[in-house]
C-alpha cells in the first residue's frame, strides 16, 4: 500500500486495484452480458411469431423481457446517486458551506442544482452523490455506477458528499476499489433513469469526458 493509499483499502484486502484497464474490461463484460440476456428473448419472440402467429402473446412477453431486464439493470445503476437517508435539514447549511469550499465555482453551482459534485479524475469524470458515484469514462460513451457511502446516517447530505469527495481526491483508484461496482452501460440508459434535476450533471460530465454530441 502506498503512502497516499486510502486507509479504507485495508477493509477489502482481497480486491485488486480498480484501474482504467479493469474498468474497460468490466465495461465490456457488462456489454456482453446485456447482449447475452437480451438476444435470446428477441430471437425466441421472433421465431415464435414466424412459426405460429397465434403465439403472439407469448412472443410479446419475450420481447417485454428483452426490454425490461436491461431497464432494471440501468435503474439499479442510476439509483446509486438518488438521495437517500435522513435529510438532517438543520445542519445541512453548514455542511453545504464546507462542500462549497471544496468545489470550484462551476462545480458548486452544478452541485446545488443537481445534488451531484463533478470531479475530473484520471479514470474519467466523476459525479459524486450522497451514497454513490457515477464515473463517465474518457470519451463519454460508458458510465460506471458505484455504490459507496459513509455509514453515518446522522450526517447531513452535503457532508456525505464531502466524505466521498475527499476520499476520491486522496486516492482515486483506491476509492473505485472500495466502492461496489453496480452497473456499466451507455450514458443514455442511465440518464433516463436519473431524477430530472441530475440529468444536466451527467450531460456536463459527458462533455468534460470528451463526448461530442455532433
Amino acid at each position: 500500500m502506498t503512502a497516499d493509499a486510502l486507509p479504507e483499502l485495508a477493509a477489502v484486502p482481497w480486491r485488486a486495484r480498480t484501474d482504467a484497464r479493469w474498468l474497460t474490461r468490466y465495461g465490456r463484460l457488462w456489454h456482453a452480458w446485456t447482449v447475452l440476456y437480451t438476444v435470446p428473448f428477441l430471437a425466441a419472440g421472433a421465431v415464435m411469431l414466424a412459426l405460429e402467429p397465434l403465439t403472439a402473446p407469448v412472443a410479446l412477453a419475450c420481447l417485454a423481457h428483452a426490454w425490461i431486464i436491461p431497464e432494471l439493470y440501468a435503474f439499479r445503476g442510476a439509483s446509486v446517486v438518488r438521495p437517500k437517508g435522513p435529510r438532517n435539514e438543520g445542519s445541512e447549511p453548514a455542511a453545504q458551506g464546507l462542500l462549497g469550499d471544496l468545489l470550484g465555482h462551476r462545480e458548486r453551482d452544478l452541485q446545488r442544482r443537481s445534488g451531484l459534485a463533478l470531479e475530473p479524475g484520471s479514470l474519467g469524470v466523476w459525479l459524486v452523490g450522497e451514497a454513490g458515484a457515477l464515473l463517465v469514462a474518457p470519451g463519454g460513451r460508458r458510465v460506471h455506477c458505484f455504490c459507496v457511502r459513509v455509514p453515518e446516517p446522522e450526517l447531513p447530505p452535503s457532508d456525505r458528499i464531502s466524505h466521498l469527495l475527499l476520499a476520491l481526491r486522496t486516492d482515486e483508484t483506491g476509492f473505485a476499489t472500495v466502492a461496489n461496482h453496480a452497473f456499466a452501460g451507455s450514458p443514455w440508459r442511465v440518464r433516463r433513469r436519473l431524477p430530472a434535476a441530475m440529468r444536466p450533471a451527467l450531460d456536463a460530465a459527458r462533455a468534460a469526458a470528451g463526448h461530442s454530441s455532433t
Binding site: S91, P93, G132, F146, E154, L155, D159, T170, N180
Partner: protein, 74 residues
C-alpha cells in the same frame, strides 16, 4: 489561522485552531487530532482542486485539516 474540523451531525465542528508561531495552540490541536484518530476518524488535508492527502500526524502548516469517517461500499 489553521483549523482542525470534524464533519459530524452539526455539519462540521471546529475542534482546534492554531498559528505556526503558537506552540501551545498547536500542541492542543495535536492532542485533539490524536483523540479523533483514536475514535476512528481519518485526517485529510484538502490541497486545492482535485487533490487531498491522508495525514497520520497533524501538519503544522496546513490551512485546513478535516476529520472524516471511513467510507465503505454500499
Amino acid at each position: 489561522m489553521s483549523r482542525l474540523i470534524r464533519m459530524d451531525s452539526t455539519g462540521h465542528t471546529t475542534l482546534a485552531e492554531w498559528t505556526a508561531k503558537d506552540d501551545a495552540a498547536f500542541a492542543a490541536a495535536v492532542e485533539e487530532f490524536r483523540g479523533q484518530l483514536g475514535q476512528g476518524y481519518i485526517g485529510t488535508v484538502p490541497e486545492g482542486p482535485g487533490k487531498a492527502n491522508h495525514v497520520r500526524e497533524l501538519p503544522r502548516g496546513a490551512d485546513l485539516v478535516v476529520m472524516r469517517r471511513p467510507i465503505a461500499g454500499g
